[in-house]
C-alpha cells in the first residue's frame, strides 16, 4: 500500500513540476517526506520534471515561459528538501563543472538553463555569472579542480574571449579540464576547430556531458 502510494505521488510530483504547479509540488514533496521518502529520491523526481520540459524545449514542444514556471516549481520543491539533501550522499561521482557567460557578454538565460539542467542531472556546478574574463575562468577551474568549463556566448564579439578562455584554461589545467560551449554566437564548426564540445541547447549539454562520461572522459 505504502509503495503504491509512493509510486503514485512520485508521478504526481513529476507532473506538478512539469505544469509549474507550485502548490501541488510543495504539497507532494511534504507528503513524500512524511512517508519517509529520501531527499535524494525526491530530488530525482523534481529533476525528472525539469528534464522533461527541457526535452520539450529542445523538441520545440515547450518554450521559455513554460520552462520558467517549471523551474520555479522545482526550486520551491527543492527548498523543502535542501537541508536533508545536503546530508545524503550523491549517487556516483558527480562532475565538477565551472560555468559562465564569456567576457563582453551578459546574457544569462541560456547559461542559467544549462546550469539548472546540469544540477538536476546530479553534477556539481559552480556558476561564475556573466561577463567572465579568461583569467577568472582559469583561476576558478583550478580552484574547483573542474572537469569541465562551460561557456555561453550569445554575441559574436564574445568569441574572442571564448577562444582566449580555452587557451588560458589549457595553460593552467592541461588536459584535466574539458570544455563545452553554447549560445547563438557559437557553432559546431568552432567547437570542432577548438576540439571541444558544442551544445545546441540545455538538454543537449546534458546529453553531451553524459556521452563524455560514458566515453571515460572523467
Amino acid at each position: 500500500m505504502g509503495a503504491t502510494e509512493e509510486t503514485r505521488l512520485a508521478e504526481v510530483l513529476k507532473q506538478s513540476v512539469i505544469k509549474g504547479d507550485v502548490k501541488a509540488t510543495e504539497q507532494t514533496v511534504n507528503k513524500l517526506l512524511e512517508m519517509g521518502t529520501g531527499a535524494r529520491k525526491i530530488f530525482e523526481l523534481l529533476s525528472a520534471g525539469v528534464l522533461h520540459v527541457g526535452e520539450q524545449l529542445s523538441n520545440k514542444e515547450a518554450f521559455l515561459p513554460e520552462l520558467v514556471v517549471t523551474i520555479d516549481a522545482f526550486k520551491k520543491g527543492l527548498a523543502l528538501i535542501e537541508p536533508k539533501l545536503k546530508s545524503e550522499p550523491k549517487k556516483g561521482k558527480p562532475l565538477r563543472i565551472v560555468i559562465g557567460t564569456v567576457e563582453g557578454d551578459i546574457h544569462n538565460i541560456g547559461k542559467n538553463l544549462v546550469k539548472t539542467m546540469l544540477e538536476v542531472s546530479g553534477h556539481d556546478v559552480f556558476d561564475l555569472g556573466v561577463d567572465i574574463p579568461p583569467d577568472l575562468f582559469a583561476a576558478k577551474a583550478q580552484e574547483h579542480d573542474a572537469d569541465i568549463v562551460g561557456m555561453s556566448a550569445l554575441v559574436s564579439p564574445g568569441l574572442m574571449s571564448l577562444r582566449k578562455t580555452v587557451e588560458r584554461v589549457r595553460q593552467v589545467r592541461g588536459d584535466r579540464t574539458h570544455f563545452i560551449i553554447g549560445g547563438y554566437a557559437t557553432s559546431p564548426a568552432l567547437a570542432e576547430e577548438l576540439k571541444i564540445m558544442y551544445a545546441k541547447d540545455a538538454i543537449d549539454a546534458v546529453n553531451k556531458i553524459h556521452d563524455f562520461i560514458n566515453k571515460g572522459g572523467a
Binding site: 524545449l57 518554450f63 514556471v69 551578459i106 559574436s156 564574445g158 554566437a185
Partner: protein, 361 residues
C-alpha cells in the same frame, strides 16, 4: 569598377520594383547593420557613438558606410535596448560591443505608474537617433528610402520587465504581461512619431525576445500589439515596414504568424532569421498570399558567416543565396541580424559587391 554592369534604376525605383516583384537592374541592397560601430569610424567605441546626443558621430558613421557601399536603403538605428533605456532600464556597455540591459525598470505592477512614455527628442539615448536621422535625411533623403524604428512592442516590454520575468508573468499573471506590452506599444508609437517628424519614411520592428514564445503566446502577446503599432504607423504616413525575425527557439514557428500583423497595410520587408535560403524562398511565396508587396531578406548569418568567413567564402555563399531567392524579385539583400561591430570591412564589401555584380543565370 569597370566589371560592374551599368545601373539603370534609381534606388527608389529599384526598391519599389523589388516590393512589387517586378524586374530590377540588380539586386536591391538593404541597410548595413550597425553603422555606428567601428565600421565607418575607426577608433570610436559604441558608447561614444550612441551616447552622443547630437547624433553627429552616428550620422558620420552612416554617411561613411553609405558613401562607401551605396546600398538601396538606409536605417538609422543604434542598439536594441535604446527604447527600454529611455524608459528607465539600466544598461552596460562593452568595449567595441553593443550594450545590454542589466537592471530592468519594471519590477512590479506599480512601477508601470511611475514610468513615462519616452520622448525621442530628449529621453535616454534616443536623441542620438533623432538628431542623426535629421542629418541623414538632409544628406540622403532625395536618393534613399530612410527608415528608423523600435524593437517593437513585445521586445520593448521584455526589455523593461526582463525576459525571464515577463515569461513568468505570461504564465502566472497574464494581465500584468499584457499591461507591460500595452505600455511598450504606446512607447513604440510615440518614438516612431518622433522618427517620422525627423524625416523617416520607413519604420521597423522586431527583436529576439518574441521568438522564445510558443505560437499561441505569440498570438496573444505579440500579434495584437504589433497590429496596433503598424496601424498607428500607417496613420502617421509611414510608407514601408521592416519586420525582423530574430533567431530564437520558436523563430521558424512564429514566422507564419507575422502574416497576421496586417502585411497588406504597406510595402513590408520580413527579414532576418530563416533556416536557409530555400525556406526564405518558400516564405516569400507564403507572404504573397497575404499581400502583393511583401519582400524577404536575411538568412545570411551576421555573427558567424559575415563576421568570420573569408571574403571568397562570403562571395560564394551570396551567389548560392541569390540563385535561390532573387528570381521573382521581392528579395532584399540584408544579413540576418545586426552586423557585429568588429566585422572586417572587406567582408561587408564582399557581401555587398558580390550581390551588386550578381546577375541571374
Amino acid at each position: 569598377m569597370s566589371d560592374f554592369p551599368k545601373e539603370e534604376m534609381s534606388t527608389f525605383d529599384r526598391v519599389s520594383a523589388t516590393f512589387r516583384g517586378e524586374p530590377t537592374d540588380r539586386v536591391c541592397i538593404g541597410w548595413l547593420g550597425r553603422k555606428e560601430t567601428g565600421l565607418g569610424l575607426p577608433q570610436v567605441t559604441v558608447a561614444d557613438v550612441v551616447r552622443d546626443k547630437s547624433g553627429v558621430l552616428l550620422h558620420k558613421g552612416i554617411k561613411a558606410i553609405t558613401e562607401k557601399f551605396k546600398p538601396d536603403m538606409i536605417s538609422v538605428t543604434t542598439y536594441t535596448t535604446v527604447e527600454a533605456v529611455a524608459i528607465g532600464t539600466k544598461d552596460k556597455y562593452f568595449k567595441d560591443q553593443l550594450p545590454a540591459p542589466v537592471d530592468y525598470v519594471i519590477k512590479s505592477p506599480e512601477d508601470l505608474d511611475r514610468v513615462h512614455i519616452p520622448d525621442p527628442r530628449v529621453d535616454g539615448d534616443l536623441p542620438c537617433i533623432y538628431n542623426a536621422l535629421r542629418k541623414v535625411v538632409r544628406d540622403f533623403g532625395n536618393h534613399y528610402p530612410i527608415g528608423a524604428g523600435t524593437v517593437g512592442p513585445f521586445s520593448v516590454g521584455a526589455r523593461i520587465r526582463g525576459l525571464w520575468d515577463i515569461s513568468f508573468d505570461i504564465m502566472r499573471r497574464p494581465w500584468f504581461a499584457h499591461d507591460v506590452v500595452k505600455f511598450a506599444t504606446e512607447a513604440c508609437i510615440n518614438i516612431i512619431e518622433g522618427w517620422q517628424s525627423a524625416g523617416a519614411t520607413g519604420f521597423a520592428s522586431g527583436a529576439g525576445s518574441e521568438t522564445v514564445l510558443s505560437p499561441e503566446h505569440f498570438r496573444q502577446f505579440c500579434v495584437p500589439y504589433e497590429r496596433q503599432y503598424l496601424q498607428a504607423a500607417k496613420k502617421m504616413g509611414f510608407l514601408s515596414y521592416a519586420r525582423h525575425i530574430c533567431s530564437g527557439p520558436s523563430a521558424d514557428l512564429v514566422v507564419d504568424e507575422m502574416a497576421k500583423f496586417g502585411l497588406d497595410e504597406m510595402p513590408t520587408l520580413v527579414w532576418g532569421y530563416y533556416k536557409d535560403a530555400e525556406t526564405m524562398a518558400q516564405k516569400k511565396k507564403f507572404f504573397a498570399e497575404f499581400s502583393p508587396r511583401v519582400a524577404v531578406g536575411g538568412t545570411f548569418r551576421a555573427s558567424d558567416q559575415l563576421a568570420f568567413w573569408s571574403p571568397s567564402e562570403i562571395e560564394a555563399e551570396v551567389k548560392r543565396l541569390l540563385d535561390v531567392c532573387y528570381p521573382g524579385g521581392k528579395y532584399v539583400h540584408v544579413a540576418d541580424c545586426c552586423i557585429p561591430p568588429a566585422t572586417p570591412l572587406e567582408n561587408i564589401e564582399a557581401f555587398v559587391i558580390s550581390a551588386k555584380k550578381y546577375r541571374p543565370k
